[in-house]
Symmetry: C2
Subunit: 211 residues, 2 copies
DNA sequence: ACAGAATCAGCCCGATCTGGCGATTTACGT
DNA sequence: ACGTAAATCGCCAGATCGGGCTGATTCTGT
């Protein structure tokens, strides 16, 4: 039996979910609240396995409430339950530690399935949400190797120093070469990267993960 | 009716899936292959909506095959279907453009559900996979705000310019302020970030995602 | 054995940046 | 009404950087 607490400001939806969970054997609905104010103390009272959390509610946002709940009770699984599917909210929810993100659906069995999934240590996302999350994920990690530049070992070493914010002198010292040689190498790095200042080189290096 | 092509080296699983899809109205199984060699030409022949792809097969890996397929036919949805749940493979699959990642399940309806989800433009991940993906996501983006620095709007704007590799003069022009004012702001930025050169500031800005 | 690349070192000069000091105006909160 | 903070503009001096130019040594591949 999964203990659940529900935060949902829409009265009719809250009531229909309450009725629905009342008729299931799998879930015990310990509490249903119209807002997430003092959410942590409510969680403290019921100690639920799973929290079903709306985002848009009067007062505190569901995502903020979720963060507080997880900070206080990290083992609690929070399932975001909303109609929003904009990337910013999805991003915030995931980064805030949500165990899942389900869109409000006319079929409450969808929610039940999600609750069971997260209770069993998994995560559950509605397909449209999962697709957006995957695109965000890809966008971050797939690097365009279009303008690949072959730096020598020494150049790469010195570029690494530059990314650490070191000056010519410091680099010379760190690499045990003279100030002039550092100068020489950096000149070549700039040529290869098609830049002409340290900040530009540093940004390119980080962007293209060449260090 | 969703046109599907299947790559699966395990003969009995391939046959049982073939039988299963033969008995469904929703999916037309256009082809089932024991390996992913020349996968692209096979896709070219059938032009499926969805590809169900095992990872471990003799010859080419399913993830490699997926990448080639997506490169050639970007509209094709590829659903990874495997027993592996290690983070590296999940990561590769997502970055390679997978539309979903389903664990092999004794219940073929799970696979059918996933196929329908991706066909409808969503993504589908088994709960355990989704949980791992979410953890990876969080791990990347949750930034330690320990050393949070409050920059003013103007300072942030100018820092953004610096991250683009712009010089004082260029920033002055871009922000429609004088060279001297740029100087003034950058001085303050350095103080707040505890750095004393442009490259250092740029690196900190990127690390702490403050731009 | 030779050509080319990489590494190291040095010099010069103009441009840029850094840091210190000061001043005015505007906006905001008390 | 006053103080504070932010934003604007200004000057100056010294340090650093960027680019051009030269030369020596070592290593590598053909």
């Amino acid at each position: 039996m999964i203990t659940l607490v529900l935060f949902e400001d829409n009265k009719s939806l809250r009531q229909s979910l309450t009725r629905y969970f009342g008729s299931t054997d799998e879930v015990f609905l310990a509490g249903a609240y119209p807002d997430a104010n003092e959410a942590v103390s409510k969680i403290c009272k019921h100690r639920p396995d799973v929290v079903l959390m709306d985002i848009q509610m009067p007062g505190q946002s569901g995502i903020e409430a979720m963060k507080r709940i997880i900070a206080a009770y990290p083992e609690t699984k929070v399932l975001i339950h909303t109609v929003f599917e904009d990337e910013h909210r999805i991003f915030s929810a995931i980064c805030g530690g949500a165990s899942g993100y389900v869109l409000k659906s006319p079929d409450p069995d969808d929610v039940l399935q999600a609750i069971q999934d997260v209770y069993n240590g998994g995560a559950h996302m509605s397909p449209m949400i999962a697709a957006k999350a995957l695109r965000m994920f890809q966008h971050q990690f797939v690097q365009v190797q279009s303008t690949y530049v072959a730096l020598t070992d020494r150049e790469r070493e010195i570029l690494t120093c530059m990314v650490k914010g070191m000056s010519y002198k410091m680099i010379a010292d760190a690499c045990s070469i003279s100030f002039h040689t550092v100068h020489y190498h950096i000149k070549h790095i700039y040529e290869k990267l098609h830049v002409n200042s340290a900040p530009e080189a540093v940004v390119k290096a980080i962007e293209q993960k060449m260090v």
